[in-house]
């Protein structure tokens, strides 16, 4: 694999293809077992992160590594503070230099003293880049930099990337979002099973070409549609003039029918997750009525929601979806204890039967059901999150960013599952920031803008432009 000066190289591949491992080797976190890395013709060997940094290679992790409680300037210089007498912080030169760097990445200078937790995700990403620049990085590696950015923030990031490229900095860009790769990369290297599966020059970059290299075969019918039809009768889930804690003052109303997949689009911060949390009893509903199959339900806690036939795969699966330290079995059976136990005693035979069935159905790739869930790949973790609810045959399935950090293969399996559930009469509510996915999977799309329902699009009206127009509040 090669990287030229002033080039943006995108690296794509399924989860487990070895992208992160490769980048960690470049960043000095892991040592290579064999082979050679050459930097400007000179063989180099990094024993730790500092070696790599000194050589001019900076790795920006997917989960940003900023100290949230410190200021922007303090973060930029963290670990390399300018000191007087090796002890006292020299604030003035650091602040000045931080201002220059902020300018360079297109952030306002006034942010220099802001604490990082006040910044938006996109701004944090740019602070990380400023930090890399302060190290005189010649190679910046970005791991899924846009996974939590809004469209505007993403645009901003691209401008910075193009600026850096023009000034001769090389960028390695890892992404699951093929549309982005198409937009910013000069070249794409595809990894499969730890090998270089092929390269595409800028002119050859296309969605199909990338996917073909990634999975080694054609993907037909990536977004399945097995003739699902919305059912007649009262809506499965109906919200009438609902307001909720932390939500907008203006009430929201909409409904979902059995047998349809309804996409919910909107910018990050539009209040989609908060709305879903309110439906699921995480946030208090302050006014309005929620009904399921025409009957008004009272939801104060997730247990009420589950009782009423709702289920949810939360946005942050590591934080809210899974007990990472526990086994696949433990996680799959957690919400199903009522049917796996009698008088409070768990039946281990029932439990293993259910778990085996679910694993087989979901095709979870795991050495055993006793494997710790945190050690599985993102795609398989997400399957377990979904599997938790499948034994209950929910009336409504809320999916918040169902394929974030999930590789193409597992993604297509998850889509297949959603399609099948909808065909079986589940109302699927899919919140997603991935426009391709929203357009591909939804029978109907609701767009939120600043907490308000900005509009509804049916399949005929659906297009990327139409969604974005509503999401950004343009008329």
């Amino acid at each position: 694999m090669q990287l030229a000066a002033g080039e943006v190289l995108a690296i794509v591949g399924e989860n487990g293809a070895g992208k992160s491992t490769l980048m960690k080797i470049l960043g000095g976190l892991y040592s290579p077992d064999g082979g050679e890395i050459r930097l400007e013709g000179q063989p180099v060997r990094f024993n730790n992160v500092n070696d790599a940094m000194n050589a001019g290679i900076s790795l920006i992790h997917q989960e940003l590594n900023l100290a949230e409680n410190l200021s922007v300037a303090a973060n930029i210089f963290l670990g390399r503070e300018r000191l007087a007498a090796r002890l006292w912080l020299r604030e003035r030169p650091m602040t000045a230099e931080a201002r220059t760097l902020l300018n360079r990445v297109g952030l306002s200078e006034s942010l220099v003293h802001a604490t990082v937790n006040q910044l938006a995700p996109g701004q944090k990403q740019l602070v990380e880049i400023a930090r890399a620049l302060s190290l005189n990085a010649r190679v910046i590696i970005m791991d899924e930099p846009t996974s939590s950015l809004t469209q505007t923030e993403t645009d901003r990031l691209y401008e910075v990337i193009f600026d850096l490229r023009a000034s001769g900095v090389s960028i390695i860009y890892i992404s699951h979002r093929l549309a982005e790769v198409k937009r910013c990369a000069d070249r794409v290297t595809v990894l499969r099973d730890g090998r270089n599966a092929g390269e595409l020059a800028k002119s050859d970059i296309s969605h199909d070409a990338i996917v073909r290299l990634m999975v080694g075969r054609d993907l037909k019918g990536f977004y399945p549609r097995s003739g699902r039809v919305p059912r007649d009768g009262p809506p499965t889930l109906e919200l009438k003039n609902v307001t909720f804690a932390g939500g907008p003052a203006q009430p929201i109303s909409f409904s979902l029918r059995a047998g349809e997949i309804v996409g919910m689009a909107g910018l990050v911060g539009a209040g989609r997750t908060e709305l879903a949390e309110a439906m699921f009893g995480i946030r208090a509903i302050t006014a309005g009525a929620v009904s399921i199959d025409g009957k008004v339900v009272d939801i104060h806690h997730p247990s009420d929601a589950v009782e009423a036939g709702l289920s949810m795969a939360p946005e942050d699966r590591r934080l809210n979806g899974l007990v990472l330290e526990k086994s696949v079995q433990f996680n799959l059976s957690l919400p199903n204890m009522d049917r796996l136990s009698k008088n409070g005693v768990v039946s281990s035979s029932k439990e293993s039967r259910l778990v085996d069935d679910l694993c087989a159905w979901l095709k979870v790739k795991t050495p055993s059901v006793h494997q710790v869930v945190g050690l599985l790949s993102g795609g398989n973790q997400q399957k377990v999150v979904l599997g938790k609810w499948l034994a209950r045959t929910p009336r409504v399935l809320i999916l918040d960013e169902p394929t974030r950090g999930v590789d193409v293969g597992a993604r297509s399996e998850i889509y297949g599952l959603m399609d099948k559930l909808a065909a079986d009469g589940v109302a699927v509510w899919m919140i997603s920031s991935d426009l391709e996915e929203v357009l591909g999977m939804s029978d109907r799309v609701l767009v939120l803008h600043e907490g308000k329902l900005a509009g509804e699009l049916n399949r005929e009206q659906l297009s990327e432009e139409a969604v974005m127009r509503l999401a950004t509040g343009a008329l």
Binding site: I282, P302, S303, N320, V323, E325, L334, G344, V345, V346
Partner: protein, 330 residues
């Protein structure tokens, strides 16, 4: 499993030390005495360990036990028969735990803080309601009719006869019965399943539709109830309880036992067997140290806390070492 093996090795080492230091001390008399104390510590440890599994902590155990011992004595002094008196005390313990649990879950206060306040409050109440120590002898003199039932309860729960001779380690049996019950709850019941889930990731448990607060409160109730049972056992065993000192530091011994037995203070870990074995370490350690002689000299009492501290530290280091190796994570 590794953790249980570790604490087993520690226990065997201590028994061997005792045997080598003084073969007479290995006689049944001393061993029954140690077993009885292991049982007593086990009762307290089981309670706090359940709470630790859910990711919380209880610093008030010693004060709750002290207050329970005083209350038990005072109630019997008022002429209430021992079993109803014990019942009232246990009920009081439950209410204390309920209060802790509700403060932590409803007001979202930290368990450390709530129970730290409890540590001061219950000690103060104990000292307020009884200016001087309560003693079984006084009670039996004032209420001669109660003498036989107190002696009977004492024989049943402590294993001591009218002459205060230890006949059998009844407290060990009490503890084993409790351990079987708690082990069953932890490992076979839905409640235990939820406790582990809450301990590791309360949020994920809640998102799974579990009414997590209910189960957290239950753990507080168990901890305080077993602490007050500890107070009752203590008064029956040593026949007297001083409101100033009864139960001091017991919370620390109980937490130490739980951690030695494999509970993580972060929550989510621990087994009933481990907890029981962990609780058995400290009483044995104290006993063994009193028999070991170095260079013909006995080890002074003051050294015991030092040894306890280092044992726990060593256990933690070894545990951390193995954990890193086995999971292979940073």
């Amino acid at each position: 499993m590794l953790r249980i093996a570790g604490v087993l090795i520690l226990l065997v080492t201590l028994y061997v030390t005792l045997r080598v230091a003084d073969p007479n001390a290995f006689g049944s008399r001393n061993l029954i005495d140690v077993a009885n104390r292991q049982g007593f510590y086990g009762v307290l440890t089981l309670g706090v360990a359940v709470l630790i599994v859910t990711g919380a902590i209880d610093l008030s155990i010693g004060s709750v036990a002290g207050l329970a011992a005083i209350m038990f004595g005072l109630l019997m002094g008022e002429g209430i028969r021992p079993i109803p008196a014990a019942g009232i005390v246990l009920l009081g313990g439950m209410l204390v735990g309920l209060a802790h649990g509700l403060l932590v879950t409803r007001l979202k206060l930290q368990a450390f803080l709530v129970t730290l306040c409890g540590l001061f409050i219950y000690r103060g109440i104990a000292r307020y309601i009884s200016k001087r120590p309560v003693g079984l002898s006084d009670i039996q003199q004032e209420n001669p009719s109660m003498t036989s039932s107190i002696d009977w309860l004492r024989w049943l729960l402590i294993g001591k006869d009218e002459n205060s001779a230890l006949v059998f380690p009844a407290q060990l049996f009490v503890m084993i019965m409790l351990a079987v019950a708690i082990g069953f709850i932890l490992h076979k019941s839905v409640i235990g399943r939820y406790w582990y889930a809450i301990g590791y990731n309360e949020s994920a448990a809640r998102y799974s539709g579990i009414a997590t607060n209910r189960y957290r409160v239950l753990a507080f109730v168990i901890s305080s109830t077993l602490a007050s049972l500890g107070g009752i056992l203590m008064l029956l065993d040593v026949r007297t309880a001083d409101p100033n000192t009864a139960g001091t530091n017991w919370e620390l011994f109980a937490i130490t036992g739980a951690v030695l037995g494999g509970c993580s203070l972060k929550g989510g870990e621990g087994t009933a067997i481990g907890i029981v074995l962990g609780a058995a370490v400290l009483p044995l350690l104290q006993n063994a140290m009193s028999f070991v002689e170095i260079g013909g000299k006995e080890i002074p009492d003051s050294v015991i806390p030092v040894v306890i501290g280092f044992t726990l530290l060593l256990g933690t280091i070894v545990d951390e070492f193995f954990r890193k190796r086995s999971v292979g994570r940073k």
